[in-house]
Symmetry: C2
Subunit: 176 residues, 2 copies
């Protein structure tokens, strides 16, 4: 049912999404769909919750710049190759439940990424007391800004450029 | 008519916006509204175009960190105090014309902000050849990310924190 909902969202947009359509696409009785989600907001929240109960761990490349580059390559791939990500961000402007779930998804990702900052501290690359969340947001926000808000074409150099500038700032103590 | 359109967008959302509603709110005949805009996308594009033909110049505080802090305070004020800004960003996910106009608005702002980088180069704060657009996006993207995508509460320290980290990165040559 989640796959059916996502396919509908990507192909026909938020306005087309309804319990009835998901029931029809997934071949499940509408009562079953309704019992599980009540409304489209609940359905989108569940999609995001499902996406976050994975085993994802941040990449471990041996350097802060390498780790941030690898994270950014994943972000760029998701924002350019996978229409689901942008469709969910767009839906977050329509549904408070989706917005809350998206925030929870990202917060969980930032929490997992504290490993990146901890390892960089252990290696002596950045000062102890570096704020991992601020570091991660600085490292990823320019990609979202370019690809989601400015709708720029993907620049294959961008993940590494942004990672390098943030690693330099972090080593100079800019996030502590 | 533009004011009527914006008021409708902010109060009742994109779905409520139509040529008829704008005609009614502004007391102008619908033919006049229709002749000017054709559709809601054209209307929103015009709103953004109007917003960009102003005399805005970037703040000149005497330091790169000061200039970026002042820009970020304006961004934070717009994203938290003025519902029009977020409503236009939300509308950009509904209308290709609005998305294109938003991109043009921001691009014009980045062009004007090249003065910030040029002055910092002249003062010897950052290396010649610094990419002003990358610098500006790094300096503002975390605010949009926190306030628009993550829907975080505004943190009054954020404009300066982000400005400082980007000024440090820029002085280390991270954007050249």
């Amino acid at each position: 049912m989640l796959d059916a909902a996502l396919a509908q969202l990507v192909q026909h947009g938020y306005d087309s999404l309804s319990i009835d359509v998901v029931a029809e696409r997934s071949g499940v009785h509408r009562t079953t769909v309704y019992r599980r989600w009540r409304d489209v907001g609940g359905l989108l929240a569940d999609v995001l919750h499902e996406a976050s109960v994975d085993a994802w761990r941040p990449p471990d490349t041996g350097s802060l710049e390498g780790d941030l580059t690898a994270v950014n390559q994943e972000v760029q791939a998701a924002l350019t190759g996978d229409p689901v990500t942008v469709a969910l961000i767009a839906a977050s402007f329509r549904s408070t439940q989706a917005a809350t779930a998206l925030r929870a998804f990202w917060t969980d990702r930032y929490d997992r990424c504290t490993d990146i900052a901890r390892r960089a501290v252990d290696r002596g690359e950045i000062p102890a007391g570096t704020d991992a969340r601020r570091l991660l947001i600085a490292a990823t926000a320019p990609l979202y800004h370019e690809l989601v808000l400015l709708r720029s074409a993907a620049d294959p150099r961008l993940p590494e450029q942004v990672a390098r500038s943030v690693a330099i700032a972090a080593s100079a103590g800019a996030f502590s």
